[in-house]
Protein backbone atom coordinates (compact mmCIF):
# COMPACT_ATOMS: atom_id res chain seq x y z
CA UNK A 1 0.00 0.00 0.00
CA UNK A 2 2.64 2.51 1.04
CA UNK A 3 4.79 1.34 -1.84
CA UNK A 4 2.01 2.11 -4.31
CA UNK A 5 1.52 5.49 -2.68
CA UNK A 6 5.25 6.23 -2.94
CA UNK A 7 5.37 5.23 -6.58
CA UNK A 8 2.28 7.27 -7.43
CA UNK A 9 3.75 10.31 -5.72
CA UNK A 10 7.03 9.99 -7.61
CA UNK A 11 5.29 9.50 -10.93
CA UNK A 12 2.89 12.40 -10.37
CA UNK A 13 5.72 14.81 -9.62
CA UNK A 14 7.70 13.67 -12.65
CA UNK A 15 4.58 14.09 -14.78
CA UNK A 16 4.16 17.59 -13.39
CA UNK A 17 7.79 18.38 -14.22
CA UNK A 18 7.78 16.94 -17.71
CA UNK A 19 4.23 17.57 -18.94
CA UNK A 20 4.83 21.21 -20.01
CA UNK A 21 8.14 20.36 -21.64
CA UNK A 22 6.69 17.48 -23.60
CA UNK A 23 3.65 19.43 -24.83
CA UNK A 24 5.95 22.28 -25.81
CA UNK A 25 7.99 19.93 -27.98
CA UNK A 26 4.92 18.23 -29.45
CA UNK A 27 3.29 21.51 -30.39
CA UNK A 28 6.46 22.68 -32.08
CA UNK A 29 5.46 20.26 -34.85
CA UNK A 30 2.02 21.86 -35.10
CA UNK A 31 1.30 23.44 -38.45
CA UNK A 32 -1.19 25.98 -37.13
CA UNK A 33 -0.02 29.50 -36.29
CA UNK A 34 -2.21 29.24 -33.22
CA UNK A 35 0.09 27.55 -30.73
CA UNK A 36 -2.51 25.76 -28.69
CA UNK A 37 -4.77 24.42 -31.41
CA UNK A 38 -3.49 21.35 -33.15
CA UNK A 39 -4.02 21.18 -36.88
CA UNK A 40 -1.50 18.83 -38.42
CA UNK A 41 2.13 17.84 -38.06
CA UNK A 42 4.70 19.85 -39.96
CA UNK A 43 8.19 21.21 -39.75
CA UNK A 44 6.95 24.65 -40.72
CA UNK A 45 8.25 26.43 -37.63
CA UNK A 46 11.63 24.84 -37.89
CA UNK A 47 11.91 26.15 -41.43
CA UNK A 48 10.83 29.55 -40.17
CA UNK A 49 13.50 29.30 -37.52
CA UNK A 50 16.19 28.87 -40.14
CA UNK A 51 15.17 32.18 -41.69
CA UNK A 52 14.67 34.08 -38.46
CA UNK A 53 17.62 36.48 -38.59
CA UNK A 54 16.97 38.12 -35.23
CA UNK A 55 16.80 34.81 -33.52
CA UNK A 56 19.93 33.40 -35.15
CA UNK A 57 21.88 36.55 -34.34
CA UNK A 58 20.73 36.29 -30.74
CA UNK A 59 21.80 32.64 -30.55
CA UNK A 60 25.25 33.57 -31.81
CA UNK A 61 25.52 36.41 -29.32
CA UNK A 62 24.30 34.26 -26.42
CA UNK A 63 26.72 31.52 -27.36
CA UNK A 64 29.66 33.92 -27.53
CA UNK A 65 28.78 35.44 -24.18
CA UNK A 66 28.12 32.10 -22.50
CA UNK A 67 31.45 30.71 -23.67
CA UNK A 68 33.39 33.67 -22.29
CA UNK A 69 31.28 33.72 -19.12
CA UNK A 70 32.11 30.06 -18.55
CA UNK A 71 35.84 30.71 -18.85
CA UNK A 72 35.85 33.90 -16.77
CA UNK A 73 33.65 32.39 -14.08
CA UNK A 74 35.80 29.29 -13.76
CA UNK A 75 38.90 31.46 -13.52
CA UNK A 76 37.58 33.84 -10.86
CA UNK A 77 35.45 31.19 -9.15
CA UNK A 78 38.49 28.94 -8.75
CA UNK A 79 40.57 31.83 -7.43
CA UNK A 80 37.82 32.71 -4.96
CA UNK A 81 37.35 29.12 -3.83
CA UNK A 82 41.09 28.65 -3.53
CA UNK A 83 41.53 31.77 -1.42
CA UNK A 84 38.60 30.81 0.82
CA UNK A 85 39.71 27.24 1.39
CA UNK A 86 43.43 27.89 1.64
CA UNK A 87 43.66 31.08 3.66
CA UNK A 88 41.65 30.76 6.83
CA UNK A 89 42.60 34.17 8.07
CA UNK A 90 43.40 37.33 6.24
CA UNK A 91 42.28 40.90 6.54
CA UNK A 92 38.61 41.17 5.58
CA UNK A 93 37.95 37.49 4.99
CA UNK A 94 34.36 37.72 6.23
CA UNK A 95 33.76 40.64 3.90
CA UNK A 96 35.30 38.67 1.05
CA UNK A 97 33.10 35.68 1.82
CA UNK A 98 29.96 37.82 1.99
CA UNK A 99 30.73 39.41 -1.35
CA UNK A 100 31.36 36.01 -2.92
CA UNK A 101 28.02 34.63 -1.75
CA UNK A 102 25.91 37.78 -2.13
CA UNK A 103 25.06 37.20 -5.81
CA UNK A 104 23.67 33.79 -4.87
CA UNK A 105 21.11 35.19 -2.46
CA UNK A 106 20.19 38.41 -4.19
CA UNK A 107 17.31 38.47 -6.66
CA UNK A 108 18.42 38.97 -10.25
CA UNK A 109 16.68 42.31 -10.45
CA UNK A 110 18.85 43.72 -7.69
CA UNK A 111 22.07 42.38 -9.18
CA UNK A 112 21.04 43.76 -12.55
CA UNK A 113 20.07 47.15 -11.20
CA UNK A 114 23.19 47.57 -9.08
CA UNK A 115 25.54 46.55 -11.88
CA UNK A 116 23.81 48.84 -14.33
CA UNK A 117 24.03 51.81 -11.99
CA UNK A 118 27.72 51.06 -11.43
CA UNK A 119 28.38 50.80 -15.15
CA UNK A 120 26.51 54.04 -15.80
CA UNK A 121 28.69 55.84 -13.23
CA UNK A 122 31.78 54.24 -14.72
CA UNK A 123 30.77 55.41 -18.14
CA UNK A 124 30.09 58.84 -16.74
CA UNK A 125 33.64 59.05 -15.38
CA UNK A 126 35.65 57.15 -17.95
CA UNK A 127 33.53 57.27 -21.10
CA UNK A 128 33.36 53.49 -21.34
CA UNK A 129 32.16 50.72 -21.33
CA UNK A 130 29.38 51.15 -23.82
CA UNK A 131 26.42 48.94 -22.90
CA UNK A 132 26.48 45.77 -24.94
CA UNK A 133 28.32 42.49 -25.07
CA UNK A 134 30.99 43.50 -22.56
CA UNK A 135 28.54 44.68 -19.93
CA UNK A 136 26.36 41.56 -20.21
CA UNK A 137 29.53 39.52 -19.99
CA UNK A 138 30.56 41.27 -16.77
CA UNK A 139 27.17 40.76 -15.17
CA UNK A 140 26.97 37.09 -16.05
CA UNK A 141 30.58 36.50 -15.05
CA UNK A 142 29.84 37.98 -11.64
CA UNK A 143 26.94 35.60 -11.10
CA UNK A 144 28.97 32.77 -12.62
CA UNK A 145 31.91 33.47 -10.30
CA UNK A 146 29.70 32.95 -7.29
CA UNK A 147 28.30 29.67 -8.61
CA UNK A 148 31.67 28.40 -9.81
CA UNK A 149 33.20 29.24 -6.42
CA UNK A 150 30.59 27.05 -4.71
CA UNK A 151 31.19 24.12 -7.06
CA UNK A 152 34.98 24.32 -6.89
CA UNK A 153 35.20 24.92 -3.16
CA UNK A 154 33.03 21.89 -2.40
CA UNK A 155 35.60 19.85 -4.31
CA UNK A 156 38.53 21.57 -2.61
CA UNK A 157 36.93 20.92 0.75
CA UNK A 158 36.85 17.17 0.27
CA UNK A 159 40.46 17.16 -0.90
CA UNK A 160 42.92 15.92 1.68
CA UNK A 161 45.27 18.73 2.76
CA UNK A 162 47.86 16.06 3.37
CA UNK A 163 48.18 15.64 -0.41
CA UNK A 164 49.62 19.15 -0.63
CA UNK A 165 51.96 18.41 2.24
CA UNK A 166 52.99 15.08 0.74
CA UNK A 167 53.83 16.83 -2.52
CA UNK A 168 55.91 19.46 -0.74
CA UNK A 169 57.58 16.77 1.32
CA UNK A 170 58.65 15.09 -1.91
CA UNK A 171 60.25 18.26 -3.22
CA UNK A 172 57.39 20.22 -4.78
CA UNK A 173 57.55 23.98 -4.57
CA UNK A 174 54.20 25.56 -3.64
CA UNK A 175 53.61 26.68 -7.22
CA UNK A 176 54.22 23.18 -8.53
CA UNK A 177 51.79 21.75 -5.99
CA UNK A 178 48.92 23.52 -7.71
CA UNK A 179 49.98 22.41 -11.19
CA UNK A 180 50.80 18.81 -10.36
CA UNK A 181 48.33 17.93 -7.59
CA UNK A 182 45.51 20.40 -7.00
CA UNK A 183 44.70 21.23 -10.60
CA UNK A 184 44.37 17.65 -11.91
CA UNK A 185 42.27 16.75 -8.89
CA UNK A 186 39.80 19.63 -9.20
CA UNK A 187 39.57 19.31 -13.00
CA UNK A 188 36.16 17.54 -12.95
CA UNK A 189 34.71 20.30 -10.80
CA UNK A 190 36.10 22.92 -13.17
CA UNK A 191 34.30 21.23 -16.03
CA UNK A 192 31.01 21.11 -14.16
CA UNK A 193 31.47 24.73 -13.07
CA UNK A 194 32.02 25.68 -16.70
CA UNK A 195 28.88 23.84 -17.83
CA UNK A 196 26.82 25.33 -15.03
CA UNK A 197 27.92 28.92 -15.65
CA UNK A 198 27.58 28.48 -19.41
CA UNK A 199 23.97 27.36 -18.94
CA UNK A 200 23.35 30.15 -16.45
CA UNK A 201 24.49 32.75 -18.93
CA UNK A 202 22.67 31.14 -21.84
CA UNK A 203 19.46 31.15 -19.81
CA UNK A 204 19.50 34.55 -18.17
CA UNK A 205 17.06 37.23 -19.19
CA UNK A 206 16.94 39.65 -16.25
CA UNK A 207 20.61 40.63 -16.01
CA UNK A 208 20.92 40.77 -19.77
CA UNK A 209 17.92 43.08 -20.07
CA UNK A 210 19.42 45.48 -17.54
CA UNK A 211 22.92 45.42 -18.96
CA UNK A 212 22.47 45.16 -22.68
CA UNK A 213 22.45 48.09 -25.06
CA UNK A 214 20.73 48.68 -28.37
CA UNK A 215 21.52 46.03 -30.95
CA UNK A 216 22.56 43.44 -28.39
CA UNK A 217 19.73 41.00 -27.78
CA UNK A 218 20.54 37.64 -26.34
CA UNK A 219 18.44 34.58 -27.11
CA UNK A 220 16.49 34.73 -23.83
CA UNK A 221 15.82 38.42 -24.41
CA UNK A 222 14.33 37.67 -27.84
CA UNK A 223 12.26 34.79 -26.47
CA UNK A 224 11.11 36.90 -23.53
CA UNK A 225 10.01 39.82 -25.66
CA UNK A 226 8.06 37.48 -27.93
CA UNK A 227 6.54 35.52 -25.05
CA UNK A 228 5.46 38.75 -23.37
CA UNK A 229 3.41 39.66 -26.38
CA UNK A 230 1.64 36.32 -26.47
CA UNK A 231 2.09 32.82 -27.80
CA UNK A 232 4.47 32.38 -30.68
CA UNK A 233 5.10 29.06 -32.45
CA UNK A 234 8.69 29.99 -33.20
CA UNK A 235 9.41 29.77 -29.48
CA UNK A 236 8.17 26.20 -29.45
CA UNK A 237 10.64 25.30 -32.16
CA UNK A 238 13.48 27.02 -30.31
CA UNK A 239 12.46 25.19 -27.18
CA UNK A 240 12.45 21.83 -28.90
CA UNK A 241 15.93 22.40 -30.32
CA UNK A 242 17.32 23.59 -26.97
CA UNK A 243 15.75 20.69 -25.13
CA UNK A 244 17.11 18.21 -27.65
CA UNK A 245 20.64 19.59 -27.35
CA UNK A 246 20.57 19.74 -23.57
CA UNK A 247 19.02 16.29 -23.17
CA UNK A 248 21.60 14.67 -25.39
CA UNK A 249 24.42 16.41 -23.53
CA UNK A 250 23.09 15.54 -20.09
CA UNK A 251 22.27 11.94 -20.97
CA UNK A 252 25.65 11.34 -22.60
CA UNK A 253 27.52 12.86 -19.67
CA UNK A 254 25.51 10.94 -17.09
CA UNK A 255 26.00 7.66 -18.95
CA UNK A 256 29.71 8.42 -18.99
CA UNK A 257 29.58 9.24 -15.29
CA UNK A 258 27.69 6.05 -14.44
CA UNK A 259 30.13 4.00 -16.51
CA UNK A 260 33.22 5.40 -14.80
CA UNK A 261 31.53 4.94 -11.45
CA UNK A 262 30.76 1.30 -12.26
CA UNK A 263 34.29 0.75 -13.48
CA UNK A 264 35.59 2.20 -10.25
CA UNK A 265 33.27 0.07 -8.16
CA UNK A 266 34.34 -2.94 -10.14
CA UNK A 267 37.99 -2.17 -9.54
CA UNK A 268 37.38 -1.70 -5.85
CA UNK A 269 35.56 -5.02 -5.75
CA UNK A 270 38.45 -6.56 -7.66
CA UNK A 271 41.06 -5.56 -5.15
CA UNK A 272 39.28 -7.50 -2.44
CA UNK A 273 39.23 -10.59 -4.59
CA UNK A 274 42.99 -10.19 -5.16
CA UNK A 275 43.60 -11.74 -1.81
CA UNK A 276 44.04 -10.51 1.67
CA UNK A 277 47.07 -8.33 0.96
Amino acid sequence: MSKIFARTWLIMVYLFLYFPIVTLVIYSFNDSPLVSIWSQASLRWYRALANDRDLIASVVLSFKIALMVGLLSVLFGTLTAFVLSKYKRFYGRTFFFSMATAPLVMPDVIVGLSLLLMLVSLQHWLGFPERGLLTILLGHALLGTAYAAVVVSSRLKEMDVRLDEAAMDLGCKPRQVFRLITFPLIMPSLISAFLLTFTLSFDDVVLASFLSGPGYSTLPMVIFSRARLGLNPSINAVAAVTIAVVSVAVIVSSIYHVRTQRKRDHEIAMRYSDGSQ
Partner: protein
Protein backbone atom coordinates in the same frame (compact mmCIF):
# COMPACT_ATOMS: atom_id res chain seq x y z
CA UNK B 1 88.32 6.66 11.94
CA UNK B 2 90.84 4.02 10.93
CA UNK B 3 93.13 4.97 13.78
CA UNK B 4 90.29 4.56 16.24
CA UNK B 5 91.08 1.48 18.30
CA UNK B 6 87.49 0.75 19.25
CA UNK B 7 86.23 -2.23 17.28
CA UNK B 8 82.51 -1.65 17.82
CA UNK B 9 80.43 0.81 15.80
CA UNK B 10 80.45 4.35 17.02
CA UNK B 11 76.96 5.77 17.15
CA UNK B 12 76.80 9.14 15.52
CA UNK B 13 73.92 11.50 16.06
CA UNK B 14 71.94 12.17 12.90
CA UNK B 15 69.17 14.38 14.25
CA UNK B 16 69.48 16.87 17.04
CA UNK B 17 66.54 18.85 18.35
CA UNK B 18 67.52 21.69 20.68
CA UNK B 19 65.01 23.32 22.95
CA UNK B 20 62.21 23.39 20.38
CA UNK B 21 58.97 25.09 21.39
CA UNK B 22 55.90 25.54 19.20
CA UNK B 23 53.15 27.89 20.28
CA UNK B 24 49.96 28.10 18.21
CA UNK B 25 47.84 31.26 18.19
CA UNK B 26 50.11 32.78 20.79
CA UNK B 27 48.74 30.66 23.63
CA UNK B 28 48.57 26.93 22.86
CA UNK B 29 51.89 25.33 23.70
CA UNK B 30 51.88 22.21 21.52
CA UNK B 31 55.56 21.46 21.97
CA UNK B 32 57.33 22.76 25.05
CA UNK B 33 61.13 23.02 25.09
CA UNK B 34 61.86 19.59 23.65
CA UNK B 35 65.42 18.41 23.13
CA UNK B 36 66.36 15.03 21.75
CA UNK B 37 68.93 13.27 19.63
CA UNK B 38 68.40 10.41 17.22
CA UNK B 39 71.37 8.25 16.30
CA UNK B 40 72.19 7.08 12.80
CA UNK B 41 70.25 3.94 11.87
CA UNK B 42 67.93 4.13 14.85
CA UNK B 43 64.16 3.72 14.87
CA UNK B 44 62.99 6.38 17.27
CA UNK B 45 59.38 6.40 18.47
CA UNK B 46 57.49 9.37 19.84
CA UNK B 47 54.80 7.81 21.98
CA UNK B 48 51.91 9.60 23.63
CA UNK B 49 48.17 10.13 23.74
CA UNK B 50 46.31 12.44 21.42
CA UNK B 51 47.18 16.08 21.91
CA UNK B 52 50.52 15.35 23.54
CA UNK B 53 52.39 17.24 20.83
CA UNK B 54 53.96 14.27 19.07
CA UNK B 55 52.38 15.05 15.72
CA UNK B 56 53.37 18.70 15.94
CA UNK B 57 56.92 17.67 16.68
CA UNK B 58 56.89 15.42 13.62
CA UNK B 59 55.51 18.25 11.48
CA UNK B 60 58.29 20.49 12.80
CA UNK B 61 60.82 17.90 11.66
CA UNK B 62 59.18 17.66 8.24
CA UNK B 63 59.12 21.44 7.90
CA UNK B 64 55.35 21.96 7.78
CA UNK B 65 55.58 24.04 10.92
CA UNK B 66 58.26 26.49 12.00
CA UNK B 67 59.29 26.33 15.66
CA UNK B 68 58.57 29.34 17.83
CA UNK B 69 61.89 28.73 19.59
CA UNK B 70 64.80 26.31 19.29
CA UNK B 71 66.79 24.76 16.47
CA UNK B 72 66.73 21.50 14.54
CA UNK B 73 69.95 20.01 13.15
CA UNK B 74 70.23 17.17 10.66
CA UNK B 75 73.68 15.67 10.18
CA UNK B 76 75.16 18.81 11.72
CA UNK B 77 73.30 21.19 9.38
CA UNK B 78 70.76 23.65 10.79
CA UNK B 79 67.53 22.88 8.92
CA UNK B 80 65.16 24.88 11.14
CA UNK B 81 64.34 27.42 8.45
CA UNK B 82 64.40 25.13 5.42
CA UNK B 83 61.04 24.61 3.71
CA UNK B 84 59.82 21.00 3.50
CA UNK B 85 60.79 20.68 -0.16
CA UNK B 86 64.43 21.41 0.60
CA UNK B 87 64.87 18.99 3.48
CA UNK B 88 66.48 15.59 2.93
CA UNK B 89 63.64 14.20 5.01
CA UNK B 90 60.60 12.31 3.74
CA UNK B 91 57.44 11.36 5.48
CA UNK B 92 54.99 8.53 5.30
CA UNK B 93 51.67 10.11 6.09
CA UNK B 94 48.91 8.80 8.25
CA UNK B 95 46.30 7.41 5.84
CA UNK B 96 49.15 7.64 3.30
CA UNK B 97 48.15 10.70 1.21
CA UNK B 98 48.84 8.84 -2.02
CA UNK B 99 48.07 10.97 -5.06
CA UNK B 100 44.75 9.56 -6.29
CA UNK B 101 45.22 10.66 -9.90
CA UNK B 102 48.63 9.02 -10.30
CA UNK B 103 49.52 5.34 -10.67
CA UNK B 104 51.63 3.46 -8.17
CA UNK B 105 54.62 3.94 -10.46
CA UNK B 106 54.01 7.68 -10.81
CA UNK B 107 53.48 8.06 -7.07
CA UNK B 108 56.86 6.51 -6.33
CA UNK B 109 58.57 8.46 -9.12
CA UNK B 110 57.01 11.77 -8.05
CA UNK B 111 59.79 12.89 -5.71
CA UNK B 112 62.54 11.77 -8.07
CA UNK B 113 61.04 13.74 -10.94
CA UNK B 114 61.04 16.86 -8.79
CA UNK B 115 64.81 16.41 -8.42
CA UNK B 116 65.18 16.22 -12.20
CA UNK B 117 66.80 12.84 -12.03
CA UNK B 118 67.51 11.33 -15.48
CA UNK B 119 64.61 9.23 -16.73
CA UNK B 120 66.52 5.96 -16.93
CA UNK B 121 67.69 6.39 -13.38
CA UNK B 122 64.16 7.13 -12.17
CA UNK B 123 62.85 3.99 -13.85
CA UNK B 124 65.60 1.95 -12.27
CA UNK B 125 64.96 3.37 -8.80
CA UNK B 126 61.20 2.90 -9.04
CA UNK B 127 61.63 -0.69 -10.20
CA UNK B 128 63.89 -1.48 -7.28
CA UNK B 129 61.42 0.16 -4.90
CA UNK B 130 58.56 -1.87 -6.34
CA UNK B 131 60.61 -5.00 -5.91
CA UNK B 132 61.36 -4.05 -2.32
CA UNK B 133 57.67 -3.73 -1.50
CA UNK B 134 56.76 -6.70 -3.71
CA UNK B 135 54.24 -4.82 -5.81
CA UNK B 136 55.99 -4.94 -9.18
CA UNK B 137 52.89 -6.23 -10.94
CA UNK B 138 50.77 -3.41 -9.50
CA UNK B 139 52.83 -0.56 -10.97
CA UNK B 140 50.11 0.68 -13.29
CA UNK B 141 47.29 0.61 -10.77
CA UNK B 142 45.74 3.66 -9.17
CA UNK B 143 45.74 3.91 -5.35
CA UNK B 144 42.01 3.20 -5.05
CA UNK B 145 42.61 -0.15 -6.75
CA UNK B 146 44.86 -1.28 -3.90
CA UNK B 147 44.07 -2.76 -0.53
CA UNK B 148 44.96 -0.90 2.64
CA UNK B 149 48.12 -2.91 3.20
CA UNK B 150 49.25 -2.38 -0.36
CA UNK B 151 48.62 1.35 -0.14
CA UNK B 152 50.71 1.45 2.98
CA UNK B 153 53.63 -0.20 1.20
CA UNK B 154 53.35 2.19 -1.74
CA UNK B 155 53.42 5.10 0.68
CA UNK B 156 56.54 3.64 2.25
CA UNK B 157 58.19 3.15 -1.14
CA UNK B 158 57.32 6.70 -2.15
CA UNK B 159 58.91 8.13 0.97
CA UNK B 160 62.00 5.95 0.61
CA UNK B 161 62.51 6.54 -3.12
CA UNK B 162 64.50 9.73 -2.62
CA UNK B 163 66.78 7.92 -0.17
CA UNK B 164 66.15 10.45 2.59
CA UNK B 165 68.55 10.86 5.48
CA UNK B 166 65.61 10.65 7.81
CA UNK B 167 62.27 8.92 7.38
CA UNK B 168 59.25 10.13 9.30
CA UNK B 169 56.34 7.78 9.95
CA UNK B 170 53.03 9.20 11.15
CA UNK B 171 50.98 6.46 12.82
CA UNK B 172 52.25 3.99 10.20
CA UNK B 173 49.81 1.23 11.12
CA UNK B 174 46.96 3.41 12.32
CA UNK B 175 44.79 2.94 9.22
CA UNK B 176 45.03 -0.85 9.16
CA UNK B 177 42.76 -3.33 10.87
CA UNK B 178 44.06 -5.38 13.73
CA UNK B 179 44.70 -8.59 11.79
CA UNK B 180 46.87 -6.86 9.20
CA UNK B 181 48.84 -4.89 11.73
CA UNK B 182 51.14 -7.56 13.03
CA UNK B 183 52.11 -8.81 9.60
CA UNK B 184 52.58 -5.33 8.20
CA UNK B 185 54.63 -4.28 11.18
CA UNK B 186 57.13 -7.05 10.58
CA UNK B 187 57.30 -6.22 6.87
CA UNK B 188 57.76 -2.54 7.61
CA UNK B 189 60.62 -3.05 10.04
CA UNK B 190 62.16 -5.53 7.59
CA UNK B 191 62.15 -3.00 4.77
CA UNK B 192 63.42 -0.16 6.97
CA UNK B 193 66.27 -2.30 8.22
CA UNK B 194 67.09 -3.49 4.72
CA UNK B 195 67.37 0.11 3.54
CA UNK B 196 69.08 1.14 6.76
CA UNK B 197 67.33 4.48 7.03
CA UNK B 198 67.02 6.37 10.30
CA UNK B 199 63.38 6.71 11.38
CA UNK B 200 61.29 8.84 13.64
CA UNK B 201 57.83 7.42 14.10
CA UNK B 202 54.84 8.81 15.89
CA UNK B 203 52.29 6.55 17.52
CA UNK B 204 49.74 6.40 20.28
CA UNK B 205 49.96 2.61 20.35
CA UNK B 206 52.53 1.45 22.89
CA UNK B 207 52.68 -2.02 21.41
CA UNK B 208 53.60 -0.55 18.04
CA UNK B 209 56.30 1.58 19.64
CA UNK B 210 57.66 -1.34 21.71
CA UNK B 211 57.94 -3.76 18.83
CA UNK B 212 59.24 -1.39 16.17
CA UNK B 213 61.44 1.15 17.89
CA UNK B 214 64.92 0.93 19.31
CA UNK B 215 64.35 4.07 21.36
CA UNK B 216 61.09 5.41 22.74
CA UNK B 217 60.37 8.94 23.89
CA UNK B 218 57.19 9.20 25.95
CA UNK B 219 55.48 12.55 25.41
CA UNK B 220 52.89 14.27 27.54
CA UNK B 221 51.55 17.81 27.27
CA UNK B 222 54.24 18.91 24.89
CA UNK B 223 57.22 17.64 26.85
CA UNK B 224 59.21 14.44 26.77
CA UNK B 225 58.80 12.58 30.05
CA UNK B 226 61.32 9.83 29.42
CA UNK B 227 63.57 8.58 26.65
CA UNK B 228 64.97 5.07 26.62
CA UNK B 229 64.95 1.64 25.08
CA UNK B 230 61.58 -0.13 25.13
CA UNK B 231 62.55 -2.27 28.16
CA UNK B 232 63.90 0.76 29.99
CA UNK B 233 60.69 2.74 29.70
CA UNK B 234 58.66 -0.33 30.57
CA UNK B 235 60.67 -1.72 33.46
CA UNK B 236 62.21 1.50 34.77
CA UNK B 237 59.67 4.26 34.19
CA UNK B 238 60.88 7.51 35.69
CA UNK B 239 57.45 8.79 36.63
CA UNK B 240 54.01 7.65 37.52
CA UNK B 241 52.66 9.05 34.23
CA UNK B 242 55.07 6.95 32.17
CA UNK B 243 54.36 3.85 34.27
CA UNK B 244 50.63 4.30 33.85
CA UNK B 245 50.79 5.18 30.15
CA UNK B 246 52.83 2.16 29.15
CA UNK B 247 51.14 -1.09 30.07
CA UNK B 248 49.04 -1.88 33.10
CA UNK B 249 50.42 -1.09 36.49
CA UNK B 250 49.41 -1.36 40.15
CA UNK B 251 50.27 1.69 42.18
CA UNK B 252 50.80 1.67 45.94
CA UNK B 253 51.21 4.99 47.68
CA UNK B 254 53.41 5.00 50.81
CA UNK B 255 56.25 6.46 52.84
CA UNK B 256 59.84 5.40 53.29
CA UNK B 257 60.03 3.72 56.67
CA UNK B 258 63.66 2.59 56.74
CA UNK B 259 66.41 4.02 54.59
CA UNK B 260 69.58 1.92 54.85
CA UNK B 261 72.62 1.50 52.64
CA UNK B 262 71.58 -1.91 51.39
CA UNK B 263 67.83 -1.80 51.56
CA UNK B 264 64.74 0.36 51.74
CA UNK B 265 61.43 -0.39 53.43
CA UNK B 266 58.34 1.40 52.23
CA UNK B 267 55.10 1.20 54.17
CA UNK B 268 51.85 1.57 52.32
CA UNK B 269 48.32 1.09 53.61
CA UNK B 270 48.06 -2.61 52.89
CA UNK B 271 51.61 -3.92 52.79
CA UNK B 272 55.28 -3.29 53.27
CA UNK B 273 57.63 -3.13 50.32
CA UNK B 274 61.24 -4.18 50.76
CA UNK B 275 63.83 -3.29 48.13
CA UNK B 276 67.45 -4.34 47.95
CA UNK B 277 68.60 -1.79 45.45
CA UNK B 278 69.04 1.79 46.47
CA UNK B 279 66.85 4.67 45.68
CA UNK B 280 67.57 8.24 46.56
CA UNK B 281 65.41 9.50 49.37
CA UNK B 282 65.05 9.78 53.09
CA UNK B 283 62.85 8.45 55.83
CA UNK B 284 59.32 9.80 55.70
CA UNK B 285 59.44 10.69 52.00
CA UNK B 286 56.16 10.02 50.18
CA UNK B 287 56.67 7.72 47.23
CA UNK B 288 54.67 5.50 44.94
CA UNK B 289 55.54 1.89 44.33
CA UNK B 290 54.63 0.45 40.96
CA UNK B 291 54.20 -3.26 40.29
CA UNK B 292 53.24 -4.65 36.87
CA UNK B 293 50.43 -7.28 36.92
CA UNK B 294 52.59 -9.96 35.32
CA UNK B 295 55.11 -9.68 38.12
CA UNK B 296 52.59 -10.68 40.77
CA UNK B 297 52.26 -14.28 41.90
CA UNK B 298 48.92 -15.42 43.30
CA UNK B 299 48.57 -18.15 45.84
CA UNK B 300 45.95 -19.43 48.23
CA UNK B 301 48.70 -20.00 50.81
CA UNK B 302 50.26 -17.28 52.90
CA UNK B 303 53.74 -16.41 51.60
CA UNK B 304 56.73 -16.66 53.94
CA UNK B 305 58.02 -13.44 55.46
CA UNK B 306 56.27 -10.18 56.20
CA UNK B 307 57.12 -8.08 53.16
CA UNK B 308 56.17 -7.76 49.48
CA UNK B 309 52.76 -9.32 49.62
CA UNK B 310 49.19 -8.43 50.31
CA UNK B 311 45.91 -10.26 50.66
CA UNK B 312 42.53 -9.74 49.08
CA UNK B 313 39.48 -11.19 47.43
CA UNK B 314 39.16 -11.99 43.74
CA UNK B 315 36.32 -9.75 42.51
CA UNK B 316 36.65 -10.38 38.80
CA UNK B 317 38.68 -12.39 36.39
CA UNK B 318 39.23 -11.99 32.69
CA UNK B 319 40.15 -15.15 30.87
CA UNK B 320 42.41 -14.83 27.79
CA UNK B 321 43.13 -18.52 27.22
CA UNK B 322 46.88 -18.48 27.71
CA UNK B 323 46.65 -16.21 30.71
CA UNK B 324 44.07 -14.78 33.08
CA UNK B 325 43.92 -11.34 34.64
CA UNK B 326 42.57 -11.30 38.20
CA UNK B 327 41.13 -8.25 39.84
CA UNK B 328 41.77 -8.42 43.56
CA UNK B 329 40.18 -6.15 46.08
CA UNK B 330 42.43 -5.36 49.04
CA UNK B 331 41.46 -4.43 52.59
CA UNK B 332 41.54 -0.69 51.77
CA UNK B 333 39.12 -1.25 48.84
CA UNK B 334 41.93 -0.72 46.31
CA UNK B 335 41.68 -3.14 43.38
CA UNK B 336 44.91 -4.50 41.95
CA UNK B 337 45.42 -6.55 38.81
CA UNK B 338 47.48 -9.71 38.63
CA UNK B 339 48.28 -11.64 35.48
CA UNK B 340 48.83 -15.39 35.77
CA UNK B 341 49.85 -17.80 33.06
CA UNK B 342 47.43 -20.70 32.87
CA UNK B 343 49.96 -23.46 33.45
CA UNK B 344 47.68 -26.36 34.21
CA UNK B 345 44.61 -27.78 32.61
CA UNK B 346 43.27 -28.74 36.01
CA UNK B 347 40.37 -26.35 36.47
CA UNK B 348 39.71 -27.52 40.02
CA UNK B 349 42.95 -26.00 41.26
CA UNK B 350 42.37 -22.67 39.54
CA UNK B 351 41.67 -19.52 41.50
CA UNK B 352 38.14 -18.28 40.93
CA UNK B 353 35.97 -15.37 41.78
CA UNK B 354 35.38 -14.89 45.50
CA UNK B 355 38.56 -16.69 46.54
CA UNK B 356 40.77 -15.16 49.17
CA UNK B 357 44.25 -14.98 47.68
CA UNK B 358 47.72 -13.78 48.56
CA UNK B 359 49.45 -11.63 45.98
CA UNK B 360 53.20 -11.54 46.28
CA UNK B 361 56.12 -10.19 44.30
CA UNK B 362 59.86 -10.01 44.35
CA UNK B 363 61.71 -6.96 45.59
CA UNK B 364 63.29 -6.78 42.14
CA UNK B 365 59.90 -6.30 40.51
CA UNK B 366 59.29 -2.99 42.20
CA UNK B 367 59.75 0.46 40.79
CA UNK B 368 59.78 3.28 43.29
CA UNK B 369 58.83 6.70 42.04
CA UNK B 370 58.98 9.96 43.90
CA UNK B 371 55.63 11.70 43.56
Amino acid sequence: MATEPKPNKVKTDLLRVEGVTKIFDGVIKAVDDVSLTVAQGEIFALLGGSGCGKSTLLRLLAGFEVPTKGRIFLAGQDITDLPPYQRPINMMFQSYALFPHLTVWQNIAFGLQRDHMPKAQIAERVESMLKLIQLTSFAQRKPHQLSGGQQQRVALARSLAKQPKLLLLDEPLGALDKKLREKTQVELVGIIEEVGVTCVLVTHDQEEAMTMASTIAVMHEGTILQTGTPDEVYERPNSRQVAEFIGDVNIFEGQIETYAADHVRIRSEVCVHYLMHGISGHVGLSVVVAVRPEKIVLSKKRPAGEVNWCVGEVVALVYFGDHTIYHIQLANAQVIKAQQMNRTTDLAEAITSGDRVYASWSGLALVVLVQ
